[in-house]
Amino acid sequence: MITNEVAYNGKVEGDVIVTKADAVINWIRKHSVWPMPMGLACCAIELMAAAASRYDISRFGMEVMRFSPRQSDCMIVAGTVTYKMAEVVRRIYDQMGDPKWVVAMGACASTGGMYRSYAVMQGVDTIVPVDVYVSGCPPRPEALLDAMIKLQDKIGAESSVKNLKSSNKIAC
């Protein structure tokens, strides 16, 4: 059949969608971010409230809160990170598989919060690279959901194919 049609025709091409690999990979990744809740202090309660029925983090595909770092994508550091706890947070971050993101939830995780003392690490970004900071003490569950949506936007803008091919994104 000779045709001058240049566009996509279901009868000719069949059920095939042509798009960028990045778009597909990012779309899959951002709609099933499995969080690793590093619930340390009061923010953990708001994290649990976000997972409960009123604010329902499951709408975004994020209700799979397994406490196993190997099975999760995003570490939500919820609560104050003390220097004693810092090594544990870092080790769990190292055990997570690529691609991984970190959300610093609350004032204590972002910058140390109101605890300016000898035992509190002034922000978890000294030991792990943070993607989204959420302010609040504690942030409302809606603020956390907003942060997760921002994280989804950030994931959507990544160049995943390049990262897959290059080796310098593999963490030790």
Partner: protein, 413 residues
């Protein structure tokens, strides 16, 4: 004694536990639970030796949430420290605020109006309901039941709406001030609390239907984690854990504060001191708290919500500050220098949902305490783990920790 050293090259986490393995006796396995673990109520680390499935030694390691509250208190005025008390037992922040405020007010000798005391009692009991609901929801989750967690969290969301209307924050309320509370109750709030109390017994009944006579739950919790009366007293237990072991000590009855002697309520006492008893005591305490709340609402006194003669201690109301010179100066002094509390020392304990939260304050006059010690109930409750856990199986750990209902925020301060 021959020690077997097994070297396994798996990664950092295992090699870090190598010192624990070296200390374990031969034939035993060293297991490290936590600090990041779903069944711990916060960051508690347990270093255990296992003989098969049975635990032979358990050493808790704390301090992963030590934030230096007591040192911070020596650098903050009395009112500036109130937000830090919120974050001690962060499941019932209002109760901590009230305990702290009463402790400091004992140094001043202030006489609080009845309305203020009634507000504080009401708020403490709501915090108790909130804390026990979460405690029991998470306890069910630790034992494997997910649904009670969802039900209790739904009820807690209703409580959060009430707290938000009263104080401005869902939790971490910072509601009390030295000499009173931050603001009066809004119009119609008491009706909403009353409505909540009418609906709550149904929700607790639902949770009880799922757990209390559940064969699996009873098998997992009965006879587990038994604490005898003598042990409970010797190890400094307080609160529902102590009462479940059979000791009749409730500070609301023994040394009533803030007007508790006016209200009529029962104190549930357990018989065996195992996990099942602790669960039953807490469920019954929620019902008794509802009784107290109803009594408070039915006879709510009118008047002021702060002590009027607290010249250098409680900031005057905003209208006066903005129009009158003396009140403006008073407000300035209180905000910059802090409430002027006379010199002395005081120890005050309040019956918090987790136990008896005590504040030992040494003041040398002025607006900043010289020494502030927080006697945390969870810190004292956890010391029994070293004695109680050996002899149980590994899968009982989650149930024991869930039933002790501790919060690391207050344990580590």
């Amino acid at each position: 004694m021959s020690t077997e050293t097994i070297e396994v090259n798996v990664g950092d986490a295992v090699s870090r536990g190598a010192d624990a393995t070296a200390k374990a006796e031969s034939g035993k396995m060293a297991l490290n639970v936590g600090p990041s673990h779903p069944t711990t109520h916060g960051v508690l680390r347990l270093m255990m030796d296992l003989d098969g499935d049975v635990i032979t030694r358990c050493e808790p390691v704390l301090g992963y949430l030590h934030r230096g509250d007591e040192k911070i208190a020596e650098n903050m005025t009395y009112n500036q420290f109130v937000p830090y008390t919120d974050r001690l037992d962060y499941l019932s922040p209002l109760a901590n605020n009230v305990a702290y405020a009463i402790a400091v007010e004992k140094l001043t000798g202030l006489e609080l109006p009845e309305r203020c005391e009634a507000i504080r009692v009401l708020v403490c009991e709501l915090a108790r309901v909130s804390s026990h609901l979460l405690g029991m929801g998470v306890f069910g989750m630790d034992a494997g039941a997910w649904t009670p967690f969802m039900y209790t969290f739904t009820e807690r969301e209703k409580l959060y709406t009430l707290f938000e209307e009263l104080t401005g924050a869902r939790f971490t309320t910072s509601y009390t001030r030295i000499g009173g509370v931050a603001r009066d109750i809004p119009d119609g709030w008491l009706d909403r609390v009353s409505h909540f109390c009418d609906n709550l017994p149904k929700a607790i009944d639902e949770v009880e239907k799922l757990l209390t006579r559940n064969r699996i739950f009873i098998d997992r919790t009965e006879g587990i984690g038994q604490v005898s009366q003598e042990d409970a007293i010797a190890y400094g237990f307080t609160g529902p854990n102590l009462r479940a072991s059979g000791v009749d000590l409730d500070l609301r009855k023994d040394k009533p504060y803030s007007g508790y002697e006016k209200y009529d309520f029962d104190v549930p006492i357990g018989t065996r001191g195992d996990c099942y008893d602790r669960y039953l005591v807490r469920i019954e305490e929620v019902r008794q708290s509802l009784r107290i709340i109803k009594q408070v609402i039915s006879d709510f006194p009118s008047g002021l919500w702060y002590a009027e003669d607290a010249k250098k201690i409680f900031a005057p109301p905003k209208e006066k500050i903005l129009t009158s010179m003396e009140e403006l100066i008073q407000n300035f002094m209180i905000v910059t220098e802090g409430p002027q509390i006379p010199a002395g020392e005081v120890y005050f304990e309040a019956e918090n949902p987790k136990g008896a939260l005590g504040f030992y304050i040494v003041s040398k006059g002025g607006g900043v305490p010289y020494r502030l010690k927080i006697r945390a109930p969870s810190f004292c409750n956890l010391s029994i783990l070293e004695k109680m856990v050996p002899g149980h199986m590994l899968s009982d750990i989650t149930v024991i920790l869930g039933s002790l209902d501790f919060v690391m925020g207050e344990c580590d301060r």
